[in-house]
């Protein structure tokens, strides 16, 4: 069985899509924010690999073609952004203010909590890029002397978590303005959060797309100052 699956060129793609289909079905049935189809798909695929005893590399040999689409998809985030360009021009002060606050709070809170939880210096710098998009975060982690796999893991976890709890967090902190909600999703949960924000609404999706690019660039510019603090 293992050998047959190991040679199947479409196994990884098929099992990922099947997991996501189940996730969509559960979301429709349960109608609760924690029933996030992406989270359900990840857990189901992990479970399937463990139960069937299939190596991640074997799975990824086929599933990597899904990741391959990520760059053109990210490029397409410019489309909702273009459609909301007037809104961006009108609210540019709130956009800049919100995103600077987001990046500052991210770096400062990672620093504070790393000290509090006694993380090592290496773990601390690996977590600094956790709220920005994977492609920028990986390069930044390397530059700061972090563990790149830990950075990627923390970025993915942050994204999935943000997508799942984002609406609850916005409700809790009474963030109702659609521009502010979108910025909050993008600044904290990058592209994964943005894929959720796009489902909430066009304005939210556009502002979240914008936040990925701007927050990523601000973080690159200032993160190296934080390396020496702990």
């Amino acid at each position: 069985m293992k050998e047959i699956i190991g040679h199947a060129a479409y196994f990884g793609v098929a099992v990922s899509l099947a997991g996501y289909a189940v996730g969509l079905w559960i979301k429709k049935k349960v109608k609760k924010p924690f029933a996030n189809p992406l989270l359900i798909a990840i857990l189901l695929v992990m479970g399937a690999l463990v139960v069937l005893g299939i190596d991640y590399d074997v799975y990824n040999e086929s599933a990597k073609y899904l990741s391959y689409l990520l760059t053109p998809a990210t490029v397409c985030l410019a489309i909702p952004l273009y459609q909301q360009l007037e809104l961006l021009k009108k609210h540019w002060k709130a956009v800049i203010g919100g995103l600077v606050a987001g990046v500052a709070s991210s770096l400062v809170s990672v620093l504070g909590l790393s000290v509090l939880f006694h993380l090592t210096h290496e773990q601390y710098v690996s977590l600094l890029p956790k709220s920005i998009t994977t492609a920028i975060g990986m390069g930044l982690s390397e530059e700061l002397g972090g563990i790149v796999t830990l950075t990627v893991a923390s970025i993915i976890l942050t994204g999935v978590l943000g997508a799942v709890i984002g609406e609850a967090v916005c409700r809790l902190f009474r963030i109702k303005n659609r521009v502010a909600v979108g910025l909050a999703f993008g600044a904290s949960a990058h592209a994964v959060g943005t894929s959720r924000a796009l489902e909430i609404g066009e304005v939210e999706g556009a502002m979240s797309s914008l936040a990925i690019a701007v927050s990523g660039l601000i973080t690159v510019a200032v993160a190296s100052f934080f390396v020496g603090f702990y």
Partner: protein, 119 residues
């Protein structure tokens, strides 16, 4: 032909972005160059919205699926990180909430103030 042409334009912009990433010595990934490039092309009218809207919308709709392989890769490093798993998870959960709240509250506060001034 229409859909194929739309994908061709999107992949063309992606390719141009990869070239920019290779040529410019900045820590900016191809996807961000591509996003800026696509926005510029749309805003200047060099590419009409109708020429990329359908294929682009489709890619954005299936975007969550594209994160599954990388996230499943967490299986690989969970065992390496055993001792530090709990504190690292704590940092991730708390900062995610803090960043969302800080970004959203600040943006909303600025917009509320602007709205109040106009009145």
């Amino acid at each position: 032909m229409g859909a194929l042409m739309e994908f061709a334009i999107i992949l063309g912009v992606t390719l141009a972005a990869e070239l920019l990433h290779a040529l410019l010595p900045l820590p900016v990934p191809a996807s961000i160059y591509g996003m800026i490039l696509m926005l510029t092309l749309l805003a200047t009218g060099a590419v009409k919205l109708e020429k990329v809207k359908r294929a682009g919308g489709y890619l954005l709709e299936i975007m969550p699926v594209m994160f599954i392989p990388a996230a499943v890769g967490l299986l690989e490093i969970i065992t390496d990180m055993k001792g530090a798993l709990l504190p690292i998870a704590g940092v991730i959960v708390l900062t995610t909430i803090i960043v969302m709240a800080a970004t959203g509250r600040t943006a909303q506060w600025i917009m509320d103030r602007e709205a109040a001034k106009k009145r």
